[in-house]
Structures are given as structure tokens and as C-alpha cells.
């Protein structure tokens, strides 16, 4: 109690001092779960932050901390950012959710932005991208490209964001190839190249010839390249260094416009807590170039799907869809609402295995 009061007071004092000293300079903080050169998720947040920094130039001050573990250390890193006078802090990993909420309570004047979470507060916004839209395109490509009809999927943690991706990819792979099967391996980490490589190798050994990944390193691509005729997709970043084979396409996160918008809002004093969920249409999710390894007609099919999602004509979760146990989820023509999608925790019909609890 005492300490909390002390922290809040000192934060307030520092916050005031901060505004007094640098009236026109907004201090922006970023924390990343991995190193900023991981080639994937954290690197893209970092690059988007750099674009934002370039946009504002001297009008802002940018502080970053990389490789912040999810857990108690997160609170420490966030507290440090808030105490050092940050006006707005971006916490860029799902596992930062509860620490962000906790720290935000102590620093009501500081704005927090949490990526991919679902808990908000007065001074905590959430933002995420509809990666599942990109997964639909990947699913189609995977279903068309597989020879063995076995597709491997490296999951990180069984959270809604990842499960949405598996469901979406599976639905669209099955649509173009009714014989397709998914094998899912949970790596239980966002970033561990050795483990990701092992997971990819295990999947390849069991007959998978297309690998989708929801982990952040390029190690699965290296494993696929070593194995030969295996296709992969870039995750979060383009991972173009593995194109045209094994990487045949990718989902790219484009956070820069959002970061610019939010920092501008802080400058203008118009910032308020909200939930942003951008997709292909808003440019937050981009599909990386489909490489030459993919035959032209399949590429056209994938681009057509991307365009129909972008224009809003088609939603990747459109009925009829059943849950894994066979019960009806969406009736014919029905579209999943955002609330259900945000908390999605079940596989759709046809997927084998169970979602780990």
C-alpha cells in the first residue's frame, strides 16, 4: 500500500517534471518479447517503431527494451519505462497483458498500448491484427501445394490468436483439398530456434510437406530447406531470404500506421482507450509476395481470395462450420462475430488432436 502510493506519487512527480522539461517532446516506450533482430515478430514491431520515429523526427523520444521475459520482469520493465517519463508505452506481446494492466493502474497518466490482448482499462488500449485473414490465404496455398496431403503447423501457445490461425488455415486448405490433414505441434515458446527447427523436422519426418508456423524465428525455413521438397510461409515478417523456396508466401505485420496514429493522438491530447483490430483491408496485415515456386493459376486463386477478404465480400469464418465435436458453430451463410473470434478456443470439425488446456 505504502509502496504503491509512493510509486504513484513519484510517477506523478516525474510525469509532471517530464512534461515541464520537454513540453513538446513525447516520450514513447516499446518493450519486445524477443531480440529486435529475431527476423520475425519483434523485429517487425521494432521496424514499425523506427518508421514512426522517422515520421515524427525530433518531436518524439523513443526508448526500447528487447528480450523482455513474459512475467514478473515485464512489470519491472514497464514500471521503469513509466518512471522514466514515457507518455505512451507499447507492450508488444500477448503475455505482457496482465503486467500491463497492473502497471497501468499505478500510472494513470501514462498511456499503455497492448498488442494482441483483450484486457483494457482507462489508460490501456489493445490492438491486434486479423492474422487469420492471412492464414486463410496460406491455407489455400498449403492445400493446393501439398503432395502428401499432410500439413504441419507449429503453434506457440494455445491462445485464441493462434487457434484462430489454425482454424482459418485448415478451413481454407480443406476447401481446396478435401483430403488434407493437419498435424499440430506446440512449441510452447514464441522464440527458440533450436526447438522450432526440431518441431519442423519432426513434422517433416511424419510426412508433412508444407509447414505453417506461428513462432517467430526463421529456423523452420532452414529445416525445410535442408529436407528438400517442403514449403513454408513467413510469419510476422516476410522472411524473403528463404524465397522462392521453401518460403512461398508470408503474412507481414504492418504496425507503423497504427503507431503513428496513436502517438499523434497523444500529441493532440485526443488519445482514448479503444480496441483496434485491423486486417488486410486496413493494411495492418499484408500478404508477402507469392513466389515463383507456386504455379500461376494457384497464385491467382490466392490473390482472388485475398481481394475478396480485403473488399469485405468474404469473411474467412463463414458458415456452414461445425466445431470439432460435430456440433454446429455457424449456420449456412452466418459469419462469426468478433467477440467469439477474440476468445476462440476450439478447433473446427476435421482437425485432429485436442487444444491443450
Amino acid at each position: 500500500m505504502k509502496r504503491r502510493t509512493f510509486l504513484a506519487t513519484s510517477a506523478l512527480a516525474l510525469g509532471l517534471a517530464g512534461t515541464a522539461f520537454a513540453q513538446d517532446k513525447v516520450k514513447v516506450g516499446f518493450i519486445y518479447v524477443g531480440p529486435v533482430n529475431d527476423g520475425g515478430w519483434s523485429q517487425h514491431h521494432h521496424e514499425s517503431a523506427m518508421v514512426m520515429k522517422e515520421h515524427f523526427g525530433d518531436a518524439i523520444e523513443l526508448v526500447e527494451q528487447e528480450s523482455v521475459p513474459e512475467g514478473a520482469d515485464t512489470e519491472r520493465a514497464l514500471t521503469q519505462m513509466a518512471l522514466s517519463g514515457c507518455d505512451i508505452v507499447f507492450a508488444t506481446s500477448f503475455g505482457f497483458m496482465d503486467p500491463t494492466i497492473n502497471v497501468a493502474k499505478k500510472f494513470p497518466k501514462v498511456k499503455f498500448e497492448h498488442a494482441t490482448g483483450y484486457k483494457r482499462a482507462e489508460n490501456v488500449s489493445t490492438y491486434s491484427a486479423r492474422f487469420y485473414e492471412g492464414r486463410a490465404v496460406q491455407g489455400l496455398l498449403a492445400g493446393r501445394m501439398t503432395q502428401s496431403n499432410v500439413i504441419g503447423y507449429i503453434g506457440s501457445f494455445p491462445i485464441p490468436e493462434v487457434i484462430r490461425g489454425i482454424d482459418s488455415a485448415f478451413i481454407h486448405a480443406r476447401k481446396v483439398n478435401p483430403d488434407v490433414q493437419f498435424k499440430v505441434v506446440w512449441a510452447n515458446t514464441w522464440f527458440d530456434p533450436a526447438k522450432e527447427a526440431d518441431a519442423a523436422t519432426a513434422l517433416i519426418n511424419q510426412g508433412a510437406d508444407v509447414i505453417l508456423q506461428h513462432t517467430d524465428s526463421t529456423a523452420p525455413h532452414a529445416a525445410a530447406e535442408k529436407a528438400g521438397n517442403v514449403y513454408t510461409f513467413g510469419q510476422a515478417a516476410d522472411m524473403a531470404e528463404y524465397a522462392p523456396k521453401p518460403r512461398i508466401s508470408s503474412i507481414i505485420d504492418n504496425w507503423a500506421p497504427y503507431y503513428i496514429e496513436r502517438v499523434q493522438a497523444v500529441m493532440d491530447g485526443t488519445w482514448e482507450s479503444k480496441d483496434t483490430w485491423g486486417g488486410i483491408a486496413s493494411g495492418m496485415v499484408k500478404i508477402g509476395e507469392i513466389s515463383d515456386a507456386v504455379p500461376a493459376e494457384i497464385r491467382d486463386e490466392a490473390i482472388a481470395l485475398e481481394e475478396s477478404i480485403s473488399s469485405g465480400a468474404y469473411h474467412p469464418f463463414t458458415g456452414p462450420l461445425n466445431k470439432q465435436d460435430g456440433s454446429v458453430w455457424l449456420a449456412e451463410g452466418e459469419v462469426a462475430d468478433d467477440g467469439t473470434l477474440a476468445g476462440l478456443n476450439f478447433y473446427v470439425e476435421g482437425l485432429s488432436g485436442e487444444v491443450p488446456k
Binding site: 533482430n37 498435424k183 530456434p193 533450436a194 526440431d198 519432426a202 508433412a208 526463421t218 488432436g353 491443450p356
Partner: protein, 310 residues
């Protein structure tokens, strides 16, 4: 669930690859501990070897030179530990921990420009007809040279400790440095050589990760492999062949749990991820249950500081 999807032959072949980094590092640490020194910096030396090897092979285009650079890098880092603990007589546990932290930071610094690059490929050895043999060909004769090097090194270390005079001296230094000193052996010099060997082996293990197993450079890529290597030495009760068994057991569980998941066995992912560590702990408990025997195997002067005046 479809267990038939798991091919035991491929499983054994891939567990050998998965185990090689920890086997190399643990073999080095075994020698270090046999000489009576506890170096907890294995993780730091491994990752330094990983980046030194990666950088050198990217620059020169030769994996062999990469492994050589990893050996030098790991050994050089271990000499910092050697200087501090043997000459300046600092505390071995604290210095070893510091070495790990230092190695992680140093490797991240050296590796700044190397993220996302691809190292020159290391091909499996071409053993001709042998590789085409059923079962045995896939398990024994389909690997890259480093897998065989690691096996040869285990055999060499075993023979060295058991049959050579130098091995006997090394063990004497580890069992009682005062007695060895009284007999006229240079305790500090012998220990420094052991530490250097340990560093070289850890570096080699790290380079195997960054050049063959993953293969790419990313910060913190050893992800605790050095700690596993340390645990393995105790697990093996300081015996080379048990070390091999332990390393393959550990690598086997790591690979098996991923294969079980891919085959659709419904076991919680967290549990599967923890199994290798659980098994290590379990074996450690079983082994130390018999106190008298466990104590017999550990070098008597492990972790003690030596000065000629004492």
C-alpha cells in the same frame, strides 16, 4: 492418434543430431570437473562458440574454419575463467555464473550483423554403400562429420581418463590437489589446460547448433543447453559412457515429445516441454539416493580453490 506415423529409425537418427551439442559441451565439462574445477559458464562459452563459428564460416564460406573459430572462441572465453579462478583465486561458482552472463552479452554484440544470414551448408558425410543399408544405414551412417567427431571424443576422453598417465594425473589433481602438488605436479597449469579443453568443447557444441542443427544465428539461441550439459555431468556420475547415454536420453525425449504431438497424442504441451527436465531431475534423485556411492564418484576437490602455499 496415429503412432505408426513415428518411424523409430528416423527418430533415433534425429535424436542423435539433437543430442550432439549437449554431448560435446558435457564431455568438455566432464574433463574440467575431473580436474577439480566447477565451471558454470558452459552456457556462455557455448553461445560464444556459436557466434564465433557462425561469423567465421559466413566470412570464409567454410564450415570447417567455422568450427575451428568456435573452438578458439570457446577456449579464449574459458581462459578468462581460468585466469580469475586459478591465478587470482576468485570463487568458481560466482565466476562461472558471471561468465555465462558475459558470454550471452558478448555473443549478442558480435552477432549484431549476422541475424537472418545463412551459413554455408554442411553436407552429411558420403559413406557410399553404408548409408544405403536398411535401418543401420539411416541410424549410423547418414550423419554429418560432427556427430562422429562427438562420439570419437567421448571414446577418447574415456580412454584418456582410464588408460593414460596424463589422465591419472588429471584425476589426481581433481581428487586431492594438495597430494598432487606434493608429488610435484603443476596443479594450476593442469587445471588451466582442462578449463581450456572444456571451453573448446563447449564452443564446438555451440557451433554445431548455429551451423548444422538450426542453422542460423539468433541471440540466446542455446536456450539453456549449457545448463543441461552441466546437469548431464552429474547425471553421468562423471563417467564418459554414461554421459553419452544421458545425452541421447535427453535428446531422445526432446525429439520424441515433438513427434508424439505431431502424431496427435493428447498430452498437455506444457507437460511435454517439461519432460526432459523432469527425467533429468528424477535420475539425479535416484542416483543421489545412495549417498555413499554418489560421493565416491564426484572428484573430492571439486570447486575448491588451490594455492601452492596452503
Amino acid at each position: 492418434m496415429d503412432l505408426s506415423a513415428i518411424d523409430p529409425v528416423i527418430l533415433i537418427a534425429s535424436l542423435m543430431v539433437a543430442s550432439t551439442p549437449i554431448l560435446l559441451a558435457a564431455t568438455g565439462e566432464l574433463i574440467v570437473e575431473k580436474s577439480g574445477v566447477l565451471n558454470l559458464g558452459v552456457e556462455g562459452m557455448m553461445i560464444t562458440g556459436a557466434i564465433c563459428g557462425f561469423a567465421a564460416s559466413v566470412q570464409t564460406g567454410s564450415p570447417a574454419l567455422g568450427f575451428l573459430a568456435a573452438i578458439i572462441g570457446g577456449a579464449a572465453l574459458s581462459m578468462i575463467f581460468g585466469l580469475l579462478t586459478q591465478v587470482l583465486m576468485s570463487n568458481q561458482v560466482a565466476t562461472g555464473l558471471a561468465l555465462t552472463l558475459f558470454g550471452l552479452g558478448l555473443s549478442a554484440l558480435i552477432g549484431q550483423g549476422y541475424a537472418g544470414m545463412k551459413p554455408p551448408p554442411t553436407r552429411p558425410l558420403d559413406l557410399g554403400v553404408l548409408s544405403d543399408l536398411p535401418v543401420i544405414g539411416k541410424i549410423v551412417f547418414s550423419h554429418d562429420a560432427m556427430v562422429y567427431v562427438s562420439l570419437a571424443l567421448v571414446a577418447l576422453v574415456w580412454a584418456f581418463l582410464r588408460y593414460t598417465r596424463a589422465g591419472l594425473i588429471l584425476r589426481a589433481v581433481g581428487e586431492s590437489h594438495e597430494a598432487a602438488h606434493a608429488l610435484g605436479y603443476k596443479v594450476v597449469r593442469i587445471r588451466l589446460m582442462a578449463i581450456g579443453f572444456g571451453g573448446a568443447m563447449a564452443g564446438l557444441g555451440g557451433a554445431y547448433l548455429s551451423l548444422i542443427r538450426v542453422p542460423q544465428w539468433t541471440e540466446g539461441m542455446t536456450a539453456g543447453a549449457g545448463w543441461i550439459a552441466l546437469a548431464l555431468v552429474v547425471f553421468a556420475s562423471w563417467r564418459p559412457w554414461r554421459l553419452l547415454l544421458g545425452a541421447y536420453l535427453f535428446g531422445g525425449i526432446t525429439v520424441l515429445q515433438l513427434n508424439l504431438q505431431a502424431a496427435g497424442v493428447a498430452v498437455p504441451a506444457e507437460f511435454l516441454s517439461a519432460t526432459p527436465y523432469l527425467v533429468t531431475i528424477l535420475v539425479l534423485v535416484l542416483m543421489s539416493a545412495d549417498r555413499s556411492r554418489a560421493a565416491l564418484h564426484a572428484p573430492a576437490d571439486l570447486g575448491k580453490t588451490f594455492h601452492a602455499s596452503s
